[in-house]
Amino acid sequence: MKQIHDRRGFLKKSALAALAGIAGVEIVFAGNMPRHYTPLLLEDPLAGKSPEMIILSDKPWNVETPPHLLDDAITPVEKMFIRNNGLAPEASINAATWTLTINGESVNKPKTYKITDLKKRFKTYTYQLVLECGGNGRSGFQPQTSGNQWDQGAISCAEWTGVRLKDILADVGLKDDAVYIGYYGKDSHLSRDPSKVAISRGVPIKKALEDETLVAWAVNGKDIPLIHGFPLRLVIGGWPASVSGKWLHTLAVRNKEHDGAKMDGHSYRVPVVHLEPGEKLAETPENFRIIESMPVRSLITYPKTGALLDSGKKLILRGHAWAGDLEVKEMHTSIDFGATWQACKLEAPKNRLAWQHWSAEVEFPTKGYYEVWAKATDSKGIMQPMLIPSWNPGGYLNNACHRIAVKVV
């Protein structure tokens, strides 16, 4: 996006003219607008997105995908959810001059790479990776918890292309005491205070060194769109998507747990003991553990909820299932509110940390109202609960079964 403010934070004349053109009127009190104020008209992170996407917030942008839009085997960008803690960079980005610096206590010597260096120096890999917001499903918790009230569509599985972080780190050279990595991106804090960091999270070194942990410049074969992290993004499948830092310019290799913004309090953490819904617990590192692998989950992506089906016809069902660092072992559906379950056809993942496609055909014994419920089981035998799971102050990890309404007429 072009720079629209002048050096003092007032809107530039050209921006005001554009604004007046769109609004059809002159902006009379432009001089009275707060400094650094960006009129909503000039931002368009939704360009190219499906009109069916659900906007939870436009400052920062948080946009959810309805389950029936997730029917593709690989999620196209126009159907990919958006989650931001801060504001996307507004100054124009030049990928040719963009750099990635690896520093921190546990590198032998900091090193900086251009994107062309990364492409030249290291082997390129492409993986399908599940990115799911830690708060996916938050709207199901009662009492309500703070944060975007996601239903069940803060999830995507797209094809990311880049180089393995472990190859870069091997080239940099690590000390023996490396325990964690932390990313830094070019997004700005909501307050626009340059001394504040919107978000800076990371993962333990073991997860960072997995084959599928990428420093990526492309998604689905094209440049990553600005709102999803152009020109460089850390992409780590299976964990809360907040570890996949956008607009990546620095990665610190730490000799302790990373202490960046949104690593503390109850951010992306859950209590180590189960709480009574609404119960308060001091937000200390002893009381709250960092969310790592996401729990088992599935979606019915076809048909869309609300299907009217002719009596006697079979209903084709399909969707996806995933289980954080694990695989999904079994997939079931129920048309009688969980009294009986039928096994579905379940495909193997394309690669580790990709979602798995499932399909089934069901018949309904009589006319009337039905709900189709879907339940996945991971490779350790853990199933999705039908009810909302353990309440926690951040409203994380609600992986309760997805369901759709069907009426046989």
């Binding site: 009127v25 009275n32 939870l56 400052k59 299907a307 089906l309």
Partner: protein, 137 residues
């Protein structure tokens, strides 16, 4: 003094009509007007319930974040105080002065667990707002 008040009023009107024009986004169906009783009106630009204190919300709360972030939530007065203190600690929110009481009055009245705009969900509620369609295969 009266000149200043008029200027301020004009600025608000200007910003308001400007924001109306920019309202290209759909409200979240889970948190929008269907939760509101028919005696309350929702402001088009902010998606928030209209009353005399809404301009204070616009003036103090929209610099950093979307009003959708307010409308999604139902907190007690104490809970909203906590949000304000948190924003003052981490997001440079200024001292709200005498406005704070009025802002909290507004939030407590319209966006608390007990407000008319809230409906308490059960652990799994019946599916609602189903748009039935003929499935052709």
């Amino acid at each position: 003094m009266w000149k200043f008040v008029i200027l301020l009023a004009m600025l608000f009107t200007g910003l308001a009509s400007f924001k109306d024009a920019s309202q290209a986004t759909e409200l979240n169906p889970r948190t929008s007007a269907r939760w509101v009783t028919d005696t309350l009106k929702v402001d088009e630009a902010t998606g928030l319930i209209i009353d005399e204190h809404l301009p204070l919300i616009r003036a103090n709360c929209t610099g950093c974040h979307s009003t959708k972030l307010i409308g999604q939530h139902r907190f007690t007065r104490e809970g909203w105080v906590g949000k304000i203190r948190w924003m003052q600690q981490y997001h440079n929110l200024w001292n709200l002065g005498e406005s704070e009481k009025l802002i909290l009055d507004y939030l407590e009245k319209h966006y608390s667990p007990a407000s008319a705009s809230n409906k308490v969900p059960a652990r799994r509620t019946p599916l609602t707002n189903i748009e039935w369609y003929k499935l052709d295969e």
